[in-house]
């Protein structure tokens, strides 16, 4: 979003039947959070830019024919938002299901088992079984980096790693290659991570990764926990500087 939205005003809107006031530079997601309403999300992580890609946070806005992602939609006067109902629940459930069908997620042998955003989302969205055909792509684990491992089988293409590397670390080692269901996260020219000229080994990508796709070497099943404290800290610091 351009920084031209400086004239913020306070507006009143309705979320799930409850009237709340908020500033026009806030997103539906932020306002809902303040109200203690949790909207499921995957690509959204506080402290990084939002891309509105995972579609888990889509909400109904009265008068709008389309569902809108709560993470990038700003509030406006008189808006009436529904964040949870049967239709949204069904959609969210299918989205999580799609992720499980897309790659080879085997929770029981995953380093992030028990500490995984995707696993938690499955519980939160009531996704108990995958009814869609598994796509079962053949994907190679990249363990060439001296400290970290990248397992594309667990990747959900949320691009958190790409954004943290670009926006916070400033290295832009990660990006996306290919397109559609064949797209993958890559480092530099799609070469093994360990050969990267640009990676600073800062590990931020590993910490923001929602699943066991990026993890530290030496951890075993269920041992990888992510430390994300630095993101809210950086976000606050930036706001102070502004």
């Amino acid at each position: 979003m351009p920084e031209t939205l400086t004239n913020t005003e306070v507006v009143t809107l309705t979320i799930n039947g409850q009237e709340v006031s908020a500033r026009t530079d806030e997103t539906i997601m932020e306002v809902a959070e303040e109200q203690g309403i949790r909207i499921p999300a995957l690509c959204h992580i506080s402290g990084l830019s939002d891309v509105g890609a995972c579609r888990l946070c889509v909400v109904e806005i009265q008068g709008s024919p389309r569902l809108q992602p709560a993470c990038v939609t700003r509030v406006s006067e008189g808006m009436t938002v529904t964040t949870h109902n049967d239709r949204l629940k069904a959609h969210r459930r299918t989205i999580v299901e799609m992720l499980f069908a897309e790659r080879n997620h085997v929770c029981s042998v995953c380093v992030s088992n028990g500490h995984c955003d995707l696993q938690n989302l499955a519980v939160e969205c009531g996704m108990q079984e995958v009814t869609l055909p598994y796509l079962a792509p053949s994907l190679q684990v990249d363990a060439s980096h001296k400290r970290f491992v990248m397992d594309p089988n667990r990747c959900v293409m949320c691009t958190r790693c790409v954004r943290v590397c670009d926006e916070i670390e400033g290295a832009h080692t990660w990006d996306i290659m290919g397109r559609g269901v064949d797209s993958r996260v890559i480092t530099d020219l799609g070469k093994p991570w360990g050969e990267s000229d640009t990676c600073t080994s800062c590990g931020k990508c590993v910490q923001v990764c929602p699943t066991g796709a990026l993890f530290e070497k030496g951890v075993s099943v269920a041992e990888m926990t992510k430390r994300r404290q630095f993101l809210p800290y950086l976000k606050t610091m930036r706001e102070v500087q502004k």
Binding site: V51, A53, M98, L99, A101, L132, L135, R179, S183
Partner: protein, 551 residues
């Protein structure tokens, strides 16, 4: 160039044409070019020279004459005759016909409905002008609208005229053009841009290609008028790399127009300046989506972003940006020249003007047609198109490409306009119209489009990235006889889910071909699933019998 100079150029060019004793116009549109019209032109010139007719006969290469099915086409102005199927070895026969009887070549009946039922506005110059010569365009009132606008109209007048004409976006969704222009005109920004979307990616459609190749100046003029109306000083034309000839001709056209002072700084001596850059796409259908197009013009991966903010408020480099497709911009000059009321007269109550369609598939007269909105599908298919060849039976007509749907026989008498098409589950789209007979299997057609959407999905949002792949997998099960009724209901579930949750238009409309075929040809799906039979005999039905797959 001011109006006076423009008129003198036009007069000079018309004189030049009138001075030519015998003008042969050879169609070099895609269809005819592939059928050998380039070699025909060469042969005509060589033979004319050898026969000493050099001074009398002028062979000019022009854009699409329309009836691609019968190419190469040659129009002889002196005798007002159109010849069809003129193979290069028939050059002598054409030259013979100038002095005597036409023997050995077939005259194309220009009174037939294919020509008579059309109403050419955007394509008015195709087949008449030489696209590489700006004079040729000027002689047919080219750039007159631009100079008129600059001299007589305020930007607000122009927006008002376009609004009054009722023109709607010809790229697909049919958003009112005047409304879009006025939004950009009102938007605040340090700079504004006009972008011409020439990323015609629908498989089975080549209207924009034809306009860009045959009449490139029309697009430039439309862009300049748009820029004046919204207050932009720079524009981009985004053309797909698959159209090398369009790229070449647009490049030539831009430099010619700049040299004549019809583009660049201080156009026609006014304070209005407008320059155009060409950007070549690189093979991504999704770049037809506005925000993806913007990303691509800026040198990025062509992935869309959520809207709002709309490009009209925040587009290229965050500036207000007007994006219109080729055909929309191609309609601007005639609207200004002939007046908005004239244009608004054509068509139906909500869909005004004409629409170019690319008529292909199981139909006799394949080719490019321009018809008034509101014409019925039956008129297009059976009168203009000449019906199904080889005694075949009409089954469906597919409009709107991968975002559209298949329309069955029962709706043939429906008027072709934005609303009616939407009502029956299809869309106008960019104008592809593919006729299918009984030899086409609707499951196979749906699977074809899903494969297209799957491989053209950018991969950013989950519903489109995974949903298209899953739907394709389910359709493949159906097409190979491996599906259960469960798969069919799963497919329907996915259709509505992907439609409702996808980020951009590609995903939101990807289920359309499946939904429309399920709606009108459900029995074909059932035959595949329950009886393991493909009624049209297209699908392979290779699955192992007796293996139960429940989900």
């Amino acid at each position: 160039m001011n109006l006076e100079e423009l008129e003198s150029t036009a007069a000079h060019e018309r004189e030049l044409c009138a001075g030519q004793k015998c003008r042969l116009r050879v169609c070099t549109g895609t269809g005819c070019a592939s059928a050998g019209s380039d070699r025909l032109t060469q042969a005509l010139r060589e033979r004319a020279k050898e026969r000493g007719m050099e001074g009398e006969v002028t062979v000019t290469e022009v854009g699409c004459l329309g009836l691609c099915a019968e190419g190469p086409l040659v129009k002889v102005d002196a005798t007002d005759t159109l010849y069809q199927n003129v193979a290069p070895n028939l050059a002598d026969n054409v030259l013979d016909s100038l002095t005597g009887e036409a023997a050995g070549i077939t005259i194309c009946n220009e009174k037939q409905p294919f020509f008579a039922r059309q109403n050419r506005v955007v394509l008015e110059n195709a087949g008449h002008i030489e696209s590489d010569r700006i004079e040729s365009y000027i002689a047919r009132d080219g750039y007159r609208a631009l100079l008129h606008v600059l001299a007589e109209m305020s930007p607000a007048d122009v927006v008002a005229a376009i609004t009054q004409s009722g023109l709607r976006g010809r790229g697909g969704a049919g958003y009112p053009t005047g409304l879009k222009w006025s939004t950009v005109a009102k938007a605040n920004g340090p700079r504004k841009f006009v972008v011409c979307n020439g990323d015609e990616g629908d498989p089975g459609a080549f209207m924009d290609r034809s306009v860009m190749e045959d009449d490139p100046h029309r697009v430039l003029e439309g862009m300049a008028i748009a820029a004046y109306a919204v207050g932009a000083s720079h524009g981009y034309i985004y053309v797909r790399a698959e159209y090398p000839r369009a790229i070449k001709r647009l490049k030539t056209a831009i430099s010619r127009a700049e040299r004549q002072g019809l583009l660049g700084s201080s156009i026609a001596g006014t304070s209005f300046s407008f320059s155009i850059d060409l950007r070549v796409g690189a093979g991504a259908f999704v770049c037809g989506e506005e925000t993806a197009l913007i990303a691509s013009v800026q040198g990025n991966r062509g992935t869309p972003r959520p809207r709002p903010p709309y490009p009209a408020m925040s587009g290229l480099w965050g500036c207000p940006t007007l994006i219109n497709n080729v055909e929309t911009l191609g309609s601007i000059a005639p609207i200004i020249r002939c007046g908005a009321p004239w244009y608004a007269e054509i068509g139906t109550e909500k869909s005004h003007g004409t629409k170019v369609f690319c008529l292909t598939g199981a139909i006799k007269n394949t080719g490019l047609i321009e018809v008034p909105m509101g014409i019925t599908l039956r008129e297009i298919v059976f009168d203009i198109g000449g019906g199904i060849p080889n005694g075949g039976k009409f089954k469906a007509v597919q409009t709107g490409g991968p975002s559209g749907g298949c329309i069955p026989e029962q709706y043939l008498d429906m008027p072709v306009d934005y609303e009616s098409l939407r009502e029956v589950g299809s869309i106008m789209g960019s104008g592809g119209m593919i006729v299918m007979d009984e030899t086409s299997c609707m499951v196979d057609v749906a699977r074809f489009f899903m494969e297209f959407c799957m491989s053209e999905s950018c991969g950013k949002c989950i519903p489109c990235r995974v949903g298209t792949a899953e739907m394709y997998k389910l359709l493949t099960r159906i097409a190979t006889g491996a599906a259960t009724m469960n798969d069919l209901s799963k497919l329907e579930e996915l259709c509505s889910m992907v439609r409702e949750t996808s980020l951009c238009g590609l995903g939101q409309s990807a289920p359309n071909p499946v939904v429309s075929t399920l709606r009108y040809f459900r029995d074909e799906y059932l035959a595949h699933v329950q009886e393991r039979v493909c009624p049209a005999g297209v699908c392979p039905m290779t699955a192992r019998k007796g293996v139960a797959t429940h989900a």
